[in-house]
Symmetry: C3
Subunit: 361 residues, 3 copies
């Protein structure tokens, strides 16, 4: 519990009333409870605050309130702390209630198993139960959380964080400032088989996975090794949870791949691409720079740079929207079609009888 | 191997014949082999038993058999054990062949690493290789299986089971009688980015994950932490494997979320909702109480309470069924449309010639 | 760095020129850089090599080059090493630059925790942090990588490889020459519930998972245990990453299941089946031998042997292709329909006026 006046001081804000109000925590407007503080940085947001259970909010950018002296807000129905940037101030207060864990460099935990041939940079932390196998290199200030497995000859850059229970197969290369969340698997075998008389024989697995600088990969995502060379995720690209990137793919820079996206083998994805959740991409496709693949799309063809696509099969998004709109009228269209067919038949009969009649005349 | 008469005794049932028959195990009707025993609790089930390889079944609720004295069943072609509840008796016999593992409270394994600042309740079991970090609290009688990682300040309730290799990020809160299956990841970073000139900067990650009482979460599912406050799964909700719940979501009570469901950030899901496999839900949507989202649906809009929806984009299920039925006639409709178009053109020409003719007359 | 002439010797090939060229590694034609060597085994592949950054390639099967004496190739614009099988030679050179890790049998690592009641065959390797619980059996020459958890009474065959952080629940049976990639979970509870007044109670979890010989399972895939007996994956079947197989399923021999496929409970899948990525199969369905389920299909009905299906709902692929083609014309069809409707109305009016006219005459 913190008094409202204390919170106002922390964010250097102006409080209108109720300095002694006890606050138990922070809550977004959609889920805030009575004793929590929320924030509002627009009129509509502020109106939702008034309608919510919350008795206090941090506010900014609301006409008639934040642009007036605090003295004039004393009659407002609920307590507000006026600041310059409500979201930033809200974040500061959130950390008051749930402090960010400060993790200090703590070296190699006695239960971690680090091969004598591995090379560990200065100020690296390797937590309990982590295993670093022969020839692996871990760069300065990187953190390996508990129960991570780093297999032979992996190279991990500087200031990289690998969360618990993640697995890097042999020869995986990871850049600087990379974040690998828990349960990520890099470098498992590519799903390539040669089939003889119905039996499937695994193809070559001689490549590896290369993750460039500033990439972030979500929990339980998997990226398979290349057949001969690298499956590559380029600088600055972010993957959400449970994403699959197949063998030999080259995924460009600064992409955003939402949860449960699946990319089959040997695709080339450009830079600045955005993929919605559960998108699937067939193998050997080229996805152009800055293209947008809308959620759940199924790609069977290349995508041009800058293009937005949608649907299964994926089509230009505008076109797909039209198709979806018309689809919802399909039952009605079918009825109409049947009726038209009947009308035309009647007209044809009449027309024939008119002809007959004329012929007879 | 067990003799049939022994099995009959175990379930206190009446056997018609073949007491010395040797039984090697149990098998459902769909996969039972000759030496196994199966069960039937309906006439159709019983008929499948007769047609199967099995030589014996536990039966209940079959007219003309289970409602007659066992003496009259001696001439039946296959051996049956008549009981009051065939499925329950079948379960009892299954445990004869594959006994349920009895796991006793065994304290903290010497290779588990439990921080001195962690608080461990009475009768807790922490298995080999599990790591419990600073400030974590584990309630009475809970079980932490091998290679689980519980990060700082997590709070785990009583009688909760965490299967191997699961990861709880810092500040995760888990209730009583919760089951987390292997490979679950709770509290990884939410997939929220602010993009400046094409670069993506991670948003605040100040929240946590709250799992209420009696929730069960399937293998390798992932639930991301909230931006400022909690991503929450409410009491009694069950998640299947490989499910993704995005940051800031509030998932209500007693839901069933089938495998590979993905829910994007900041959704509010009501109580008693059922989601089929591979459903995807766009961000910031409201899913009403007791609604049903059919398998593979893609949600782009809110769903009303009690509504059943289906399709991509999701529409009322009844409507979508109609659309799907008509869709299958699309090629035929197009042909019909072309033909009609031709017919109408002909009629127009004739009509024009009739007019001409009339005008000429 | 290797000189080109050295590489030619390794693969016993004929080099046309540039013996002293320094090569830094291998690259597929799609991603090769200037200092790397690539390969070409067709004319079109060779043309791409000429257009690429690469200065050298291993070649076979290219008319006018590989069928001519090497002496005649001296004037070719780029260096080539002519061999009998370019892909095989390329693989050999790939291993020169990134040697395959040789892992020797190394027994049980001191930090592995193996129950005294477990039975470990000769020449088994159990790596650091792996946990093998009571009664488990591990066959000859099998390898258990770090941080794997093998629960009670599991039976693992010979020459089987279990990559890091994989989990086998109690009673799981795994055959010979099986590969389980990192993060796989076998035997978690089936998603079966009995619901009373809106609450969900877990059904029996008495079965197990059986993985037959020569099966390979991709990273983070999950297979749930049967209710009473086995969920079974039969001999030679290969699963890609993030695949879900529900409880009681029986998946036949020599199948290929691509990434993110989900199979609901109690399905029977035949032999030689191929499933594309993100396919979903409803519960209790029968999928015939050698059927093909195209990517992203949603199965609501059984599939006949040899049938190819596609779409949501899945239909015969040929039919679905027609439907998809016509779908793209839906907006145009609707316009056409409206126009036709108008034309027919006009024709009806005219026809009526003709009739009137005739009646009046």
């Amino acid at each position: 519990m913190r008094r409202l006046i204390e919170l106002a001081k922390i964010v250097d804000g102006d409080l209108n009333h109720s300095p002694e109000l006890e606050i138990s925590g922070v809550g977004r407007i959609a889920s805030v409870s009575e004793s929590e503080i929320t924030f509002a940085n627009s009129r509509s947001h502020y109106d939702r605050f008034l309608a919510s259970d919350a008795s206090a909010a941090i506010v900014s950018g609301i006409e008639g309130i934040t642009d007036q002296p605090i003295g004039q807000q004393k009659t407002l129905p609920k307590a507000v702390i006026v600041v310059a940037d409500a979201e930033a101030a809200f974040a500061a207060i959130a950390t008051e209630f749930r402090p960010v864990i400060e993790r200090r460099t703590s070296g190699v935990h006695p239960t971690a198993v680090v091969a004598s041939t591995a090379s560990i940079g200065p100020d690296v932390t390797i937590h309990a139960g982590a295993v670093v196998m022969d020839g692996a290199v871990i760069g300065d200030r990187s953190t390996i959380f508990p129960n991570v497995t780093v297999m032979e000859d992996c190279q991990i850059g500087q200031d990289t964080t690998i969360f618990p229970n993640t697995v890097l197969y042999e020869n995986t290369v990871v850049g600087d400032r990379v974040i690998l969340h828990a349960g990520v698997v890099l470098g498992a075998f590519g799903f390539g088989y040669k089939s003889h008389t119905g039996k499937h024989e695994l193809s070559a697995q001689l490549g590896n996975v290369v993750i460039e600088d500033d990439v972030e990969i979500g929990a339980n995502s998997t990226i398979d090794r290349g057949t001969f060379d690298a499956t590559r995720i380029r600088r600055g690209t972010k993957l959400d949870n449970l994403v699959m990137v197949g063998h030999n793919c080259d995924v460009g820079e600064d992409n955003l791949l939402c949860s449960q996206v699946g990319i089959a083998g040997s695709c080339n994805v450009g830079n600045g691409v955005v993929m919605g959740g559960q998108v699937g991409i067939g193998d050997h496709l080229n996805i152009g720079d800055r293209s947008i693949l809308m959620a759940k799309s199924g790609l069977m063809h290349d995508v041009d740079p800058g293009q937005a696509v949608h649907g299964i099969p994926a089509r230009p998004a505008r076109k797909q929207m039209q198709i979806m709109a018309v689809s919802s009228k399909l039952p009605e269209m079918r009825k109409m079609l049947k009726q038209l067919s009947k009308s035309v038949e009647q007209l044809q009969q009449r027309s024939a009888s008119v002809d007959q009649c004329r012929d007879a005349a």
